[in-house]
Amino acid sequence: MMAFDSLNLLAILGMAVVTYATRVAGLALAGRFDLSPRAQAAFDAIPPAVLIAVIAPSALATGWPETAAAAVTALAATRLPFLAVVVVGVMAVVGLRALT
């Protein structure tokens, strides 16, 4: 239960330090932050770019059931609330894998 691995601990502490830095950066930056609209667009694109970069191998390079289920999920995401999208995606992959 209390087991930990020193490398895991190092990773968690590193993640904590960089996350805290992003959260308190506003204390230093407030009032003197003026991005060009183009830099603003690139900044706004960070969350989707990172999210998609993380899942692309699972969605596009695993097998056709995963790729098809990702497409179904993306379609669901255009019209359903968050939790429903996740349920649809998971059900789609279970169903499509059963066909293989």
Partner: protein
């Protein structure tokens, strides 16, 4: 003039729907982390020190034994970079906070409570009572449910049986929709997805995250070129 306790109650009544919505994801996060070999204590520690759903899910997706420390930290930094802008917008509204309340309170700024605080600040002055009344139950719920997920998760068996291994992918697609801003996002997603999948095949993990993210940002920068003027007008 309302008391700190009244403000804390208002904070709690504003945050509880977000808290309930996060609970199943917290359980799932704990179970998936346990599936990657993290102990309940490590899951608790990560939730307490990092407290960022998207970054934590991404980290567990990348997690391996031995832990790819640099890739985990870099992915966390990229995903949480948005906090810099969120904090920059929120800090001027924290005038009623003591210095230690700012340094402690901002440690748990996440998408949900940030958005609620910004909303509150439009009609009221933002008080420490409101902020911590919102924060404490929200963080406590995330800690309890992620740790519980790590404890009960292994008993549920192979996550592939319920398609739980695909839940990450589905969650991230749903989150991407929440960040959708039209044409620029479409270019970002297309470039990031293709670059990441190709890099994964050709160079292997964890390089696909960096390559995909950078190509996505480059695509956003290029696609925003013609839109820059329009975007400024919309923002104004």
């Amino acid at each position: 003039m309302s008391s700190a306790l009244d403000d804390a109650r208002t904070g709690f009544s504003d945050v509880w729907p977000a808290m309930l919505a996060a609970a199943p994801f917290a359980l799932l996060f704990g179970a998936l982390a346990a599936g990657k070999g993290l102990s309940p204590f490590e899951v608790f520690l990560m939730s307490a020190l990092v407290f960022a759903g998207g970054a934590q899910f991404a980290a567990v997706e990348l997690w391996a034994t031995p832990a790819p420390v640099a890739a985990l930290i870099f992915s966390t930094l990229l995903i949480n970079a948005r906090h810099v802008l969120m904090g920059t917008s929120l800090v001027p509204k924290l005038d009623g906070f003591a210095s230690w309340q700012k340094w402690l309170g901002l440690a748990y700024m996440a998408d949900e409570n940030w958005a609620l605080a910004e909303k509150r600040a439009r009609t009221h002055s933002l008080t420490p009572g409101y902020w911590f009344g919102m924060l404490i139950p929200f963080v406590a719920c995330w800690l309890m449910m992620t740790t519980l997920g790590a404890i009960v998760g292994p008993a549920l068996g192979d996550p592939r049986r319920f398609g739980a291994d695909f839940a990450f992918t589905a969650i991230f697609i749903a989150l991407t929709a929440a960040f959708w801003k039209g044409r620029v996002t479409a270019w970002t997603v297309g470039a990031a997805g293709i670059a990441s999948a190709l890099t994964y095949r050709l160079a292997g993990p964890p390089w696909h995250v960096l390559a995909g993210a950078l190509c996505g940002l480059a695509a956003a920068w290029l696609a925003a070129g013609g839109d820059a003027v329009v975007a400024t007008e919309e923002a104004a």
